[in-house]
């Protein structure tokens, strides 16, 4: 099939297809398909390495009570830390995004946005160092106070940890880490709110906050939700910061401030994998597969929400 074999239609109707074009277009397409294969490969190889743990008798799996009992507390710990991070980070991120887009002096707004983005550039292991050395000791008084005054809630049942290396501290570290993700996306959608709507609101005598509430927030709502879910996906999979800060390994508990916390899937893998052997490796990979499925579901949902908004605004 070379270019000399002219098709039956008149030549002017169809562009000439040169070999160079075919090779280039083919390799471009192959790269795209390769990426899809990689994603499928991630799932396939994880499954193939996880199968021994799935089929092994329950007493051989580390912990001795089967894979389900091994993974369940880890899933709880993962969700607990990530949801706490999300609850702390989302309102802050929305505030930051509003500040940068509509409140900061215009001359410095771009710089401020860049400074917030720097938070995203710091490697996660450094966040772990900081959480362990600074944040955990600094939060010990709060742990004591929370155990005394909020102890009736099961989240703050205590006894308060004396080191601060608790799920609560981890949640705050994760919140700092996902803050730039949520605020970057929120900033983008807020700045795209239709100028006509904003100016109309101001022209009718709305204050700045009323303008934001009526013209900006309804427009940016789905973008914020999507950004928050992307942050949630990041928090679920965060490894090193949690592995360094959390003193985990205890069973399932909702208690955020005691010294016995459930570990998270990712940090458990990081802590145990280097020394694991045999079925232990398979079990850890099986737990990684669970994490993969959870984050994949969260991310797909998030992308769907964000893209739906993009379609909507593209129609305008």
């Amino acid at each position: 099939m070379t270019a000399t074999k002219a098709p039956s239609e008149p030549r002017s109707q169809q562009a000439v297809r040169r070999p160079g074009d075919r090779i280039f277009a083919g390799s471009a397409k192959a790269s795209g398909v390769f990426i899809l294969l990689v994603l499928a490969g991630v799932a396939a190889f994880l499954v193939s390495e996880a199968v021994p743990a799935l089929t092994a008798p329950a007493e051989d799996v580390p912990g001795g009570e089967g894979l389900g009992a091994y993974v369940a507390p880890l899933v709880l710990g993962t969700l607990l830390g990530a949801v706490l991070a999300l609850l702390v980070a989302t309102p802050l991120a929305v505030g930051i995004a509003l500040y940068v887009t509509y409140y900061a002096p215009r001359r410095v707004a771009a710089t401020m946005g860049y400074v917030i983005d720097l938070l995203a550039a710091i490697p996660s292991v450094v966040y772990g160092f900081w959480g362990l050395a600074v944040l955990a000791p600094a939060l010990v008084p709060f742990h004591v106070w929370a155990a005394d005054t909020l102890g009736f809630l099961s989240f703050f049942a205590g006894p308060a940890s004396t080191s601060g290396r608790t799920m609560f501290t981890v949640g705050l570290v994760l919140a700092v880490m996902i803050l730039p993700i949520i605020s970057a996306i929120s900033r983008e959608v807020f700045s795209q709110a239709p100028a006509l709507h904003r100016e109309a609101a101001l022209a009718l005598g709305a204050t700045r906050w009323e303008m934001i509430r009526m013209a900006v927030l309804p427009y940016g709502k789905s973008g914020v939700i999507g950004g928050a879910m992307l942050g949630l996906g990041r928090a679920l999979g965060e490894t090193m910061a949690v592995a360094i800060v959390l003193s985990g390994g205890a069973g399932a508990t909702l208690n955020l401030i005691s010294s016995s916390n459930p570990s998270t899937i990712a940090s458990n893998i990081a802590l145990r994998f280097p020394e694991a052997t045999g079925l232990g490796i398979n079990t850890l990979i099986a737990s990684g597969l669970v994490l993969f499925v959870i984050t994949l579901a969260v991310n797909m949902l998030a992308r769907w929400i964000v893209n739906r908004r993009a379609d909507f605004s593209g129609a305008n």
Binding site: K29, A110, M112, I244
Partner: protein
């Protein structure tokens, strides 16, 4: 941003006559009230046993309250709510600055102790106490990151070209969607993938530098695709059409016209993608491991990398704990400097390689 309209805070023209005169706080009054509230908060916290955090919390709460109440009394409910939100939003930004400043300060404070020539010229080979350095880890990080870049950039760039120049329909939508989804793969899962892949190929207990590079590529490719795609979309269609009109084949149009036009953006995107993976720890922890000596061959056994080095120095200190902690913090400092340098390079690339306008 240019269409950004913000309400001018003071409306200078006040209508006279039968129109109700709008009562306003003087221009600097909110700021003054806020500072007064902060001062009051500082005094209060000094009375109740002062600490920096309580001073700040009392100050911010009282300052916000002072502004809100004054505005409520003088300007009415709506204006007061507006000022309250202004205070809250500004506070949110301030709160986000606290961890950034604290983190950078802590790393500088602890990391400068061992930021010396030995750290950059010695490895940890046969070092059990003081001395030693991260020479082997820094070079290992550079080798593995370079390898990951060599794998990721051709695939990522070609995919971006495919998406912008060729793809249509369902395959385009599928690739776009799954590239987005791939951005969210946890880094540890990417490491497990590389581990599972190489275990199937080479048997158990294999640890190679190239495994780490593969794991990092899984994280890097989607970032490269997204940034390159955005940049290629910005190349004006007129350039492509002018090239086609001269009879240039499509692939030569892309190579000779589209890519050179976009080179600044492509360089920036790739540099930022490198910056994203250079600090990754978890995937290297499970695939590359750590050694104390210098190994620069990614196809031969374990290698040392800077993030993993920092992690183990902190979490598994030897008998001379302080020496290990010092090395860990210095490694963290070097890591931050590396990432920041890459960010700066990315900005410089976009400034100096930007397409020339006119001749």
């Amino acid at each position: 941003m240019s269409t950004d309209t913000r309400p001018a805070a003071p409306a200078p023209v006040q209508p006279r006559g039968p129109v109700r005169v709008e009562r306003r706080l003087p221009r600097l009054a909110p700021l003054g009230l806020y500072l007064a509230g902060v001062a009051l908060g500082a005094g209060l916290s000094a009375l109740t046993g002062s600490s920096l955090s309580s001073t700040v919390v009392y100050g911010v709460v009282l300052g916000t309250l002072a502004v809100f109440l004054a505005s409520r009394l003088v300007e009415g409910r709506r204006k007061a709510t507006d000022r309250l939100v202004t205070c809250l939003v500004t506070t949110a930004f301030g709160v986000a600055m606290v961890p950034l400043v604290s983190l950078v300060w802590t790393v500088l404070d602890n990391g400068l102790a061992r930021f010396d020539a030995t750290f950059f010229s010695n490895s940890m080979f046969r070092v059990v106490g003081e001395g030693g350095g991260a020479y082997h880890a820094i070079l290992g990080t550079l080798v593995i990151t370079a390898l990951a870049t060599v794998i990721s950039v051709p695939i990522g760039l070609m995919t971006a070209i495919y998406l912008v120049e060729y793809a249509t329909g369902r395959l385009k939508r599928a690739i776009t969607f799954f590239v987005d989804v791939m951005t969210g793969i946890p880094s540890i899962v990417a490491g497990l993938f590389a581990f599972a892949l190489f275990t199937l190929l080479f048997g158990n207990d294999v640890r190679l530098g190239v495994m780490g590079a593969v794991a990092l590529s899984v994280l890097m490719i989607p970032v490269v695709v997204r940034s390159c795609e955005e940049v290629l979309k910005l190349v004006p269609n007129e350039l492509r059409e002018a090239s086609f009109a001269l009879g240039v084949p499509k692939w030569r149009t892309i190579v000779k016209v589209v890519l050179p036009t976009a080179i600044a953006g492509l360089g920036t995107g790739v540099t930022l993608a490198v910056a994203r993976v250079v600090g990754e720890t978890a995937p290297l922890l499970v695939t590359v491991g750590l050694i104390t000596g210098t190994n620069l061959d990614p196809f031969d056994g374990r290698m040392a990398t800077l993030p993993v080095f920092a992690y183990y120095q902190l979490t598994q200190p030897g008998t001379d704990t302080q020496a290990f902690l010092d090395r860990a913090w210095t490694a963290a400092l070097v890591l931050i400097i590396l990432v920041m340098a890459l960010n700066v390079v990315a900005r410089l690339i976009s400034r100096f390689l930007a397409p020339k306008t006119g001749h």
